[in-house]
């Protein structure tokens, strides 16, 4: 008997011309998975198929060997989902909202009452439970979103860009929350920010143009990355030329020259000092651009 195995096989989703998800195969077991990719990589589309919101163009998704679309609500019973962009019932209070979702998730009213208390506490929303949802700030709304996702103790928790729009302290809180939730379930968490998943995700999946381009632990990804980080001192007027030729992870301007951190298989210049490669470097190597930093600014 298989146990807690979520498996996708040759999964594809086409939107007219775009192949949003393209022939992806992977198997999830209990643990935290970080789905890392720039905007448009296909993360949201993949998650929508995993949560049965969207039918695949081809391929299949199975839970312990059974097709999840055939399982219908028996599969949905296992799901918790925080969408990337979601709305709320404007005139419901936070508590009403959570109790309603609990009812939709087939919790009895008594279970719901208890569970709602619990998730309010978990997400730090207890004091706002009477607030009308239309008055919530972006951060609070997202917390309510996480609260609804975990109401039914989901075996599969899917979180689409859960940290978008959160300030740094909220981000840290959130990472702690993920670690708390990670036990005995599959947590799939998408982001375009490396630091969101670096510390919490056991497995990292790099997604690009609808495909999984690299998967593994942070160490495995670093080891497999063909590029290494090099520290080079170059004259200021040559910085632009280096940008053209290499992937530059960082530029530090000093008084008489510039210090560049360059990603390359071999030393880009004599005297370049090899440095330890980070997950951020791996991201840059695959995507050709830096991940969005905590300041949300992803461009070089």
């Amino acid at each position: 008997m298989l146990f807690m195995e979520l498996k996708i096989t040759n999964l594809s989703k086409d939107f007219r011309k775009t192949k949003a998800v393209n022939q992806v195969s992977y198997t999830f077991h209990s643990g935290v998975y970080g789905l890392l990719g720039i905007n448009g990589a296909g993360k949201t589309t993949l998650m929508r198929m995993l949560t049965t919101l969207l039918n695949p163009t081809s391929g299949e998704i199975t839970w312990d060997g059974e097709d999840v679309f055939k399982m219908d609500k028996a599969y949905r019973k296992l799901l918790g989902y925080l969408p990337q962009d979601f709305g709320v019932y404007p005139d419901f209070s936070v508590q009403d909202y959570l109790r309603y979702i609990a009812a939709l998730k087939n919790l009895t009213p008594t279970e719901a009452k208890e569970k709602v208390q619990e998730v309010l506490l978990l997400t730090g929303m207890t004091q706002f439970k009477g607030k009308k949802m239309r008055t919530l700030s972006g951060g609070m709304k997202r917390r309510a979103g996480i609260a609804q996702a975990v109401l039914n103790d989901p075996k599969i928790l899917v979180l689409d860009e859960p940290t978008a729009g959160l300030d740094p302290s909220e981000r840290i809180r959130f990472r702690n929350l993920i670690s708390e939730l990670a036990a005995d379930r599959i947590v799939l968490l998408s982001t375009h920010i490396v630091s969101d998943v670096e510390s919490v995700a056991g497995q990292i999946i790099l997604m690009k143009e609808g495909r999984f381009v690299a998967t593994g632990t942070t160490e495995e990804l670093i080891a497999a990355c063909p590029d290494k980080g090099w520290l080079c001192n170059v004259p200021k007027d040559e910085v632009y030329a280096y940008h053209q030729k290499y992937r530059v992870a960082n530029v530090k301007t000093l008084s008489d020259h510039a210090q560049l951190r360059i990603l390359s298989q071999d030393a880009p210049m004599p005297g370049a000092v090899p440095e330890e490669t980070s997950l951020e470097d791996v991201f840059l190597s695959y995507f050709g651009e830096r991940s969005g930093g905590e300041d949300g600014n992803g461009m070089v």
């Binding site: 969207l54 609500k73 979601f86 009403d96 109790r99 039914n152």
Partner: protein, 415 residues
């Protein structure tokens, strides 16, 4: 709270829906009071009164002209009419339309009009006095014969609707209907039923337009609020909750319809009276050419029943379109378009198209016109008017759209 409770909360906590509910109350109040004002009674001084008081006076005046419209009643009516029209008219106040005549006529008006219809070739007010003057009591023996002959003449007179629209077989069928109507008819006061059935179609039409706002939101709001992605990945999202939404729609249609129509009927019939419930439609001059033996009570029941089917049909159609398009915008336009459409189709005289037009849903909210509609249909070798056809057709379509709506919503793709 149950899922139904939360769905209801979503519906009634929405501001636009609160406005719609308020407008519904206003609409019923306005239509009821307008209907009461339709009944008018003029006192000896020429001052009109309306409403409940007018109904009471009118009922008193009609008392002597209540009962079987047979030879003795026709004869005494003729005597009275000759008397009224023979009285020299006083100088009338400018702008007042012959108030003394109207005052004198009000108790006997229904019989006078029936006589006019049976004996006046083209019944007009101007020639009516002359017609009464020349009419002799022995002529009255032919009252019911004349009625049938008049219907026949209408059917066969070149240039008339009937002449163009019916086949010979249909004309025969219609004449058979007229001949089989019960005679002599009973006459009497039936103002409550007449006014209520005359005004209720417009109440229904505005009501269903407002109702569509409540209904469209049930399915479309999940998308406009962007709550769909959470909603649809829950255990009940694609199954039980969809059924509950449909059920809420059904309950909303039913409650809004019966509360609005019920309040209206209660106010109108309560004030104008339920007298005349057992009278046949043809006892009222307005329904002279009706071909069915139907009492006012049956008629009003038919109006309410057909209206309810119309509401169910439009309601489920609105819900289906809102589920299909994920938006209320198009859906709320449906009743207005369907009810306005006939105005543009009035000028079409092509017999085939007329038959198609006869199957449109607006007739369900306009039974009087539907009963009068000239075109006949042949179903399973049986000639019939459009009323039973639309009743069966739109009951079935309501169920179909409810099922389609369920299917559509259950399989919605969220992308």
């Amino acid at each position: 709270m149950t899922l139904m409770g939360y769905e209801l909360k979503k519906m009634v906590s929405k501001r636009t829906n609160q406005i719609v509910l308020f407008l519904l109350v206003l609409l019923v109040a306005y239509t009821s009071s307008k209907t009461l004002k339709q009944v008018e009674w003029i006192d000896e001084a020429g001052n009109p009164i309306t409403g409940r008081a007018a109904a009471v006076k009118l009922r008193q005046d009609m008392e002597p002209w209540t009962g079987t419209l047979d030879q003795p009643m026709l004869e005494s009516a003729l005597v009275r009419l000759k008397e009224i029209y023979g009285t020299p008219q006083p100088d009338l106040r400018p702008g007042e339309n012959n108030w003394l005549l109207r005052h004198n006529l009000q108790g006997i008006k229904h019989v006078a009009d029936l006589i006019g219809l049976a004996y006046g070739d083209e019944y007009e007010d101007e020639t009516y006095a002359e017609m009464i003057e020349s009419l002799q009591s022995e002529d009255l023996l032919r009252f019911y014969e004349n009625k049938i002959a008049g219907h026949m003449a209408f059917l066969y007179k070149e240039g008339n609707w009937g002449y163009y629209s019916y086949t010979e077989e249909e004309k025969q069928y219609i004449m058979e209907q007229y001949r089989s109507l019960e005679t002599p008819i009973e006459v009497g006061y039936q103002e409550g039923w007449v006014q209520a059935s005359e005004q209720i179609p417009s109440l229904m039409k505005y009501c269903v337009i407002l109702l569509s706002f409540l209904l469209a939101g049930i399915f479309a709001d999940e998308f406009s609020w962007k709550t769909d992605s959470v909603y649809y990945n829950t255990y009940h999202g694609r199954t039980k909750s969809t059924v509950i939404k449909l059920l809420l729609g059904f309950i909303t249609i039913t409650l809004v319809y019966w509360l609005c129509m019920g309040c209206f009927s209660l106010v109108v019939l309560g004030n104008l009276g339920t007298d005349g419930a057992e009278l046949m439609l043809q006892s009222c001059p307005r329904y002279w050419s009706v071909r069915y033996d139907m009492t006012f009570l049956q008629y009003y029941g038919l109006i309410l029943g057909a209206g309810y089917i119309g509401f169910l049909f439009m309601g489920f159609l609105v819900m289906w379109v809102s589920a299909k398009t994920k938006s209320s915008v198009l859906a709320v336009l449906i009743p207005s378009v369907m009810l306005l459409l006939p105005m543009f189709l009035r000028e079409i005289f092509n017999p085939f198209l007329r038959k198609v037009i006869g199957l449109l849903p607006h007739w369900l909210m306009d039974i009087e016109q539907a009963i009068r509609y000239q075109y006949l249909y042949k179903v399973f070798g049986q000639v019939t008017c459009l009323v039973p056809i639309v009743l069966v057709m739109y009951s079935s379509l309501s169920i179909l759209f409810a099922l389609l709506c369920y299917w559509e919503y259950r399989h919605k793709q969220i992308a």
